[in-house]
Amino acid sequence: MAPKLSTTQSSSGSNKPIQTTSQSPFPSAFSALFKAYTQNTSSRLKFIDAFLVFLMASGILQFVYCILVTNFPFNAFLAGFASTVGQFVLTASLRQQVNPENKLEFKEVSHERAFADFVFGSIILHFFVYNFLG
């Protein structure tokens, strides 16, 4: 049951089911997709998705502050914003690799290896972020 439904979902493992081409009214399509997501996504992926939403919110709010109030000091903005974007990218790729749907694609990459890469990349990212933060 699960594999069958998952084909309607984004193959890239995105947490937002936005690939619908249905002409049906938006709310019903949206709620259908949301329902499918909540029912068919493992709680581990939901856990990762929550972190992705958190990063996105944090990044968007910093960007809003930069636009509305000040971009000075610019290096600090770059560091803060890049930390959320970078972390988002790293987390998204972790999600892709541990997603059971992509098992065949990442056959040779174990979940542990993917997580180690994620941690390593994040530490390097944070090093640059604090370096630039000023």
Binding site: S43, L61, F72, A116
Partner: protein, 275 residues
């Protein structure tokens, strides 16, 4: 100082002095009748004032005479000296004297002679210099001539470097303005509260289980990651790059070790459970 003092009478037996007789000048405009004025110049500063505009011509006539006999003389030197006391500019104009001593000089401002010095707003002092080997010389102050100001005298391009130059100050970029602290603090609050409430809310709804949080296999790894983040935070606050790299290298080794151990234990349980 060896100075011999001798008293002479004013009428000492010297050559007779030169003088200028029947000194007249008129100013001729393009229209309007010329007015002629005659005056007697002396050696003392003259009170005569002559004003010439750009389209007028000054006509000066006089006769150089022997002061004693009143006869006309043709001297070697009959110069008009134009002198600007303010700028120190000077111009010398010889005038032609006939053998009977008569002399004429025209100064046309439309076509000023080369001898007229560059003028400012100050008047030119016009002096008549009469010199001859047979007579005593004479220096007569004619009048103060006001003429339109001309271009200043040409100067060498490097001349300015030989004088005090104007001071220069660098204009600095203005210091960047900081927004009110309250606004920054407000946004800081929003950036902390909103994402974290989303994160914690979503996580609570997923309610992940953490049975092995304090497991001896996992905890060292979590702790070393925490240490890493703390080190980076300290780097931001006050540590130097060199220190961070040293501590980071050490911590890296520890983290690799704890990470391997932790992930190996996870993999064991995962693969074990899969079987």
């Amino acid at each position: 100082m060896k100075a011999a003092f001798l008293l002479f009478l004013a009428t000492a037996a010297h050559a007779a002095k030169l003088s200028a007789d029947s000194v007249k000048y008129s100013i001729i405009s393009a229209k309007g009748e010329p007015s002629t004025k005659s005056f007697v110049p002396t050696e003392k500063p003259s009170s005569e004032v002559v004003t010439l505009s750009g389209d007028q011509t000054l006509k000066l006539s006089l006769q150089v005479v022997d002061q004693a006999t009143g006869k006309g003389v043709q001297p070697e030197q009959a110069f008009l000296r134009f002198y600007d006391e303010q700028s120190g500019e000077e111009g010398i104009q010889p005038i032609r004297v006939t053998s009977s001593g008569k002399a004429k000089f025209d100064l046309s401002m439309a076509k000023p002679p080369a001898s007229l010095p560059p003028t400012s707003t100050a008047p030119l002092k016009v002096t008549l210099l009469l010199g001859s080997s047979s007579h005593s010389p004479q220096k007569l102050e004619l009048f103060n001539l006001h003429v339109p100001a001309s271009h200043p005298a040409p100067v060498h391009p490097d001349e300015v470097k030989f004088h005090l130059l104007p001071e220069l100050a660098h204009t600095f970029r203005p210091d960047p303005k900081l927004p009110p602290r309250a606004i920054s603090a407000l946004f800081t609050g929003i950036i902390l509260v909103v994402p974290w409430s989303i994160l914690l809310g979503l996580w609570l709804s997923v309610s992940p289980q953490v049975p092995r949080l304090f497991s001896p296999n996992i905890l060292p790894f979590t702790a070393s990651l925490g240490a890493f983040e703390f080190l980076l935070y300290r780097y931001w606050v006050d540590l130097k790059l060199g220190d961070v790299l040293t501590y980071g290298a050490f911590l890296g080794v520890v983290t690799v070790f704890t990470g391997r151990h932790a992930l190996a234990s996870i993999a064991d349980r995962r693969l074990g459970s899969q079987k």
